[in-house]
């Protein structure tokens, strides 16, 4: 059954290629424990503070960014269209404002590195020492 093992390798490779991991990042000084439910709370506007009580500033990526769709589906459990419908319910009733959006991974990383209250997400392969990873999805 040697052929079977060989055929598995490209499958695994292609799976990694197609589904890049999303790394949720905060400022290196942020010591708060943040799980997926907490991230969802912050990115859906249902909470504005970390569990520690300090202010949280979620930073979203633009709809055109590749990682946005992955974050919406893997972390928030919704499609980007569903998230848009969700926010339009809050925006057009004056009940909420969606997180600020920036253009890409580099912009998120720069914003998070510069702001102790920030929380964002980037392609896991783009992580470096300027930010702290709190979870990969």
């Amino acid at each position: 059954m040697k052929w079977l093992k060989i055929s598995l390798i490209p499958l695994v490779l292609s799976a990694q290629f197609a589904f890049a991991e999303v790394a949720v990042i905060v400022h290196p000084s942020n010591a708060a424990a943040i799980d997926q439910a907490e991230i969802t709370r912050l990115f859906t506007g249902r909470g504005a503070t970390f569990a520690s009580g300090s202010k949280a500033t979620p930073i979203n990526q633009a709809e055109s960014a590749a990682v946005r769709g992955d974050f919406d589906s893997k972390v928030l459990g919704k499609s980007s269209s569903q998230m848009k419908a969700y926010w339009s319910k809050l925006v057009f009733t004056g009940k909420g404002t969606p997180p600020k959006e920036v253009a890409d991974d580099a912009a998120v990383k720069a914003a998070v590195a510069a702001d102790a209250t920030a929380i964002g997400y980037i392609d896991a392969s783009k992580v470096d020492g300027t930010v702290k990873v709190i979870g990969k999805f």
């Binding site: 249902r46 269209s81 339009s88 319910k89 925006v91 057009f92 009940k95």
Partner: protein, 374 residues
């Protein structure tokens, strides 16, 4: 029109806010067309000729953070059903009193129904329109104040909205736009939700006055022939009206279920009890969301209103016709789909069959179009 002034003040506040704070501009639009199948059939403003006007609309919303927990929001809307004349759908000042309490004052939506707040934002729901049999209170905004109290308990979110205000504007009485006043609108809604389930209750009351050209000749005749007490049971003269609504929604494993039930009553008027409900089920298949829904409207007539008029009196059949004509039992079936063909736009098509069992009249309507947000 002092409420127009109010809107202008809010608009001016937004412009002033611009100097120091960011103004966020958002918008939404619906472009819809529909046609009925029978040559003389009409439904929701549509006829047997394809028409874009009844439900197409464009809206722009400006919101500005004024600092110190104050913000202003104004929404300008142009509806096809009103010849695209733009007007302020709402304009209000918000004060975030605490993390959990927000006070709004100005022209605001009355949260009668689950989808009241974003009734016009078609993109926010899957249907081509909110269920008309249920969503039929003839006014949807008021001028006044509301308090929004939001709390979380574990996985549950609670949202209470308390409203107080008044509405001045025209409502539809027997097909004629009639000036009306809803005073002392008071009440609130409470919504409790978690990730996949939500439930809500709403209760409102108001003093209802409507000046109706359709009713005036009849009311005049009743008063002249000594039936003033009957006239009082027909007209809307600061009569107490009440609204009760309950509903629930499920959004789990791509199944979407929604249901609401409402009862509207206006004491001492020819409009007796109006009950309505709907039930809707949909399923998400990626970008496609097909759904079916069923709506029922059951209006009662109150013949005791004209019991005081002798059977042989010439006014009796007129009054009986008006009062008994309130009886309605309409069943509506909808089947349709939403297709998210673009990140900010959805295409929708819906086939509606309305069956008025009292008039024995069946009407079929096809609606299709695009809802977008920008």
């Amino acid at each position: 029109m002092r409420y127009t002034h109010l809107a202008l003040v809010v608009a001016a506040a937004i412009a002033a806010g611009q100097a120091q704070a960011e103004v966020s501009l958002n918008g939404f639009a619906s472009v819809k067309a529909g046609t009925t199948f029978g040559s003389d059939d009409t439904l929701y403003g549509y006829t047997s000729d394809v028409d874009f006007k009844p439900e197409s609309l464009f809206a722009i919303q400006a919101q500005s953070d004024l600092g110190d927990k104050f913000s202003v929001t104004a929404q300008l809307m142009a509806k096809g059903s009103e010849d695209f004349n733009s007007k302020f759908a709402w304009a209000f000042l918000s004060y975030q009193a605490s993390e959990h309490v927000r006070i709004n004052a100005g022209r605001i939506r009355v949260p009668f129904y689950k989808y009241s707040d974003f009734l016009d934002v078609g993109y926010a729901y899957d249907w081509a329109r909110t269920p008309r049999s249920v969503y039929d209170v003839p006014f949807d905004t008021m001028d006044g104040a509301s308090a929004l109290i939001s709390n979380s308990f574990g996985d549950w979110q609670s949202s209470v909205q308390l409203n107080f205000g008044a509405f001045n504007g025209s409502v539809n009485v027997e097909g004629i736009k009639s000036p009306s006043k809803m005073q002392n609108i008071m009440g609130g809604s409470w919504e409790l939700s978690n990730d996949w389930f939500s439930t809500r209750v709403a209760y409102f009351k108001a003093d209802v006055s409507i000046q109706s050209d359709a009713l005036d000749p009849l009311l005049g005749a009743l008063n002249q022939y000594g039936f003033a007490s009957v006239a009082k049971e027909i007209d809307f003269d600061e009569d107490s009206g009440s609204f009760v609504g309950v509903g629930f929604g499920i959004d789990k494993n791509d199944w979407i279920v929604n249901s609401e039930w409402t009862r509207v009553e206006i004491d001492h008027s020819f409009m007796a009890q109006r009950d309505s409900w709907f039930f809707s089920v949909g399923h998400r298949f990626g970008a496609w969301t097909p759904y079916i829904s069923h709506e029922v409207n059951r209006d009662k007539a109150d013949p005791t209103i004209y019991a005081a008029i002798p059977g042989v009196h010439p006014l009796r059949p007129l009054v009986a016709g008006l009062v008994d004509g309130q009886e309605d039992n309409t069943k509506v079936y909808n089947v349709g789909f939403r297709y998210d063909f673009h990140p900010s736009a959805a295409f929708k098509a819906e086939l509606t069959n309305a069956d008025n069992t009292i008039a024995d009249q069946k009407t079929t309507l096809l609606t299709f179009g695009v809802d977008l947000v920008f």
